[in-house]
């Protein structure tokens, strides 16, 4: 099972993530680029999702053609779903659903936050929404492979 962790050191919070059984080749490529750091953002129209708008894949070029990857909408995805948007070359976006979503467009599902950590994920989501709309605090997220 492919596993990784998302840490938000400033918030003192972390969640464990594991493959969702879809697009494992894409997840593997992403994980070959870990450890990674980026600025944690929030979705602004589609629902309750945290969003990473720029994940830089500098070690391993992402070269899986879009038509070879399974897609699903975030509206239909379970809470905790981790999906990629436009993974290609050196970069990808990532969305993580922590509550209801209306976004019915296609994304590339790769992983889930484990059930035991969904409350923590929701906590991160709420703090990030507060940052996006009020405090503007810059929150960094780290992605680390788990054995």
């Amino acid at each position: 099972m492919l596993r990784f962790k998302m840490n938000w050191p400033q918030l003192g919070l972390a969640v464990r993530c594991e493959s969702c059984g879809k697009n494992e080749a894409a997840l593997k490529l992403l994980m070959e680029n870990m450890p990674l750091q980026t600025v944690q953002g929030h979705e602004m129209v589609g629902g309750w999702m945290i969003r990473n708008r720029s994940i830089y894949m500098g070690k391993r070029f992402f070269d899986i053609p879009p038509q070879d990857m399974e897609t699903e909408s975030m509206k239909d995805a379970p809470v905790g779903r981790i999906s990629l948007l436009f993974p290609q070359g050196n970069s990808t976006e990532m969305l993580i659903k922590y509550d209801e979503c209306e976004d019915f467009r296609s994304y590339v599902p790769v992983a889930n936050v484990v059930a035991e950590d969904l409350d923590t994920l929701k906590q991160v989501g709420k703090l990030q929404w507060k940052s996006a709309t009020r405090t503007k605090e810059v929150v960094i997220v780290e992605f680390v492979v788990e054995d």
Partner: protein
């Protein structure tokens, strides 16, 4: 004129510099409301319109690079056609981004434009991918500093809202 390797390395250096630390252009425009190029000055010296128009144009550049790289996978598109599309698609929005104060990204666009016709297909993919990664970082910081809280002043309205409003007019 820079070589492909020099330009790619320069862009990648900027990607690394702006991943967890703010991009200077975005800081100036979106955090400190400075518009060095003069955008917004004729509009009663406000910055809001500069944010509103400058930010999405940069966002488009990210997506155009994505689609250009996808098209480059299809050998039925010649390099000449890909270069022509690249110039049509991202030079104009990138130039507008410069007018709004996002200088570095347009500097890279101009440098890419200079060597575009000399690139192999693989170099085209590598260079646009690196550029897309930098513009994606610009977008990260734009989203970070955009004052999204003002959205609470413009709440969605529905039929019920307008029915109530009409009832007040009776």
């Amino acid at each position: 004129m820079k070589t492909f390797q020099q330009l790619k390395a320069e862009i990648e250096e900027q990607v690394a510099a702006s991943t967890v630390k703010p991009d200077q252009d975005v800081l100036d425009v979106f955090k400190y409301s400075i518009s060095k190029g003069g955008a917004g000055y004729p509009q009663d010296n406000q910055i809001f319109t500069t944010w509103f128009y400058g930010a999405p144009d940069c966002g488009y550049v990210t997506d155009w690079c994505y689609f250009l790289v996808e098209l480059a996978r299809d050998e039925s598109y010649s390099m000449e056609e890909l270069c022509k599309m690249a110039r049509f698609w991202f030079v104009q929005p990138s130039h507008f981004g410069e007018y709004c104060g996002l200088y570095k990204q347009y500097y890279f666009t101009k440098e890419i434009d200079k060597i575009l016709d000399t690139l192999t297909r693989e170099e085209f993919v590598q260079l646009l991918s690196a550029f897309r990664a930098y513009i994606a970082n610009v977008n990260v910081w734009v989203f970070q500093y955009m004052p999204w809280g003002v959205g609470y002043a413009f709440m969605r309205k529905d039929g019920k809202y307008f029915e109530e409003a009409l009832s007040l007019c009776n």
